[in-house]
Symmetry: C2
């Protein structure tokens, strides 16, 4: 293992500025040193301050990926289980799954529909996301009694954060809000984009040609999810690094929403 | 847009060597200039030569992500549709889906099971992967008549490539073979790992504690898929860059296989 980056004698800013948007190279940086986020926290201000302190000033065209958890905390979406009265349905499900009926009650409230309730609850949230427990989560939350809910409007949250970042830095920074979701057929969680602002979330290559000149017929890439997944490699849930800066990703500014990644029920073969 | 990286006066090697394995920073580099890969091609040799030419010498701990397509080509897994005689079942399915019956025949041969045949064929391959058309693909293949099949043993292919890279470079390089798969519930494809060598594919954080000291109960990250997704951002299907070098990812060398990411049918709620 080489000497850690922190102890490098090279200036951090120089390291962070060598990534140009050329499709040749992509750089990802953890933004360390964020405080525990509380309700009402000015996330943009805190993130810009932490990035500056770490020698990572934002540049136009950067993509900031933040964990859902800090957005939810800043938006006050913490619920104390002590304040939740479980319904009869929640109590029955909780008995079946051997879970806390108050947590199950919150999952039901956050859900449009429950897809599976075998070992875990796989729910479709009111946003349309399909994930375990409708995003109700007790990790990285202080105290035993508190859980977080997903942001009510993650695309709106991303847009507000991007606007605030622009106000402070004068630069257009794209924002992705990410959470870790499980998948059918494959084990493990990956980070996906639940909110986005300022960049394309899906890149449609249909109509373009491959290197042999043949038209590509079914190649829409979920780039916002790939950006979120890349950032997830540096977030490491246990280490609690909820903000990652991606530099060098080439894209045309766009006002697409991560909600657009949700597959319409009519086109979904697995509901 | 800044001056492209190619035209930079800074030496490329310096740019590529500033990424240390500290969890602080991650760098991804396209490896440009690979030739059209033919059957029997020594992939390791070609990739090392291309990387050197681009000023990107491999370092110990690097992760090389290669597209399935070039592995299949090197392994001779190109099939001419002209040589395929469709079965009655393939003809019936092809009529229903308005596809080439010969291509459908190949999908059936590559499949253990067909999960859906509504608009596309969602198949479970003999490896256990669930994907469209069992990986039978006509993009980035020369000629109208040729399609590629997935490698027979992608983990074995990754292991062989890693061994060959080590022989040439003297360095331990982890290898991921990636393909783009669709997902239920979410639009767009993302790159996933279908073969791996030298690194953990799933990182189990269960038993570790979050930043608030609470044990994490359900946090297994599919890091090989996240590495593949990150590389996918630079691969851009149409541009045909089938090799990406990831530097700075911290991991303990391991001999896990990407086959281990396939969720056992007994634990799968969506089969």
């Amino acid at each position: 293992m080489k000497k850690p980056y922190r102890g490098s004698s090279r200036p951090r800013a120089a390291l962070s500025s060598d990534c140009e948007r050329t499709d040749e190279k992509l750089c990802l940086f953890r933004i360390p040193g964020l405080p525990e986020i509380r309700k009402g926290e000015d996330l943009a201000k805190s993130i810009v301050a932490a990035a500056r302190k770490a020698g990572l000033p934002f540049a136009a065209g950067d993509v900031l990926v933040v964990a859902q958890k800090i957005v939810s905390k800043a938006e006050g979406l913490l619920v104390s289980l002590g304040n939740v009265t479980p319904s009869a349905k929640a109590q029955a499900l909780a008995a079946q799954l051997k879970k806390d009926p108050r947590a199950i009650e919150l999952v039901l409230r956050e859900s449009r529909r429950i897809l599976r309730s075998d070992r875990v609850l796989i729910a479709e949230t009111h946003h349309g996301f399909v994930c375990a427990n409708a995003g109700v989560d007790h990790s990285n939350v202080p105290g035993d009694d508190l859980v977080t809910l997903l942001p009510r409007d993650p695309d709106g949250s991303a847009e507000k954060l991007a606007a605030a970042l622009r106000k402070i830095t004068g630069k257009r920074i794209a924002v992705i809000i990410t959470d870790t979701f499980g998948r059918p057929w494959r084990l493990g969680l990956t980070n996906v984009a639940i909110g986005a602002s300022g960049l394309p979330v899906l890149v449609d290559l249909r109509g373009t040609r491959d290197r042999d000149g043949k038209p590509l017929t079914a190649t829409v890439l979920a780039v916002a999810d790939e950006l979120a997944a890349a950032a997830g490699l540096l977030m490491g849930k246990a280490e609690g690094t909820p903000a990652v800066l991606i530099r060098g990703y080439r894209f045309k500014p766009a006002s697409e929403k991560a909600a657009g990644i949700v597959r319409p029920a009519s086109e979904d073969l697995f509901r």
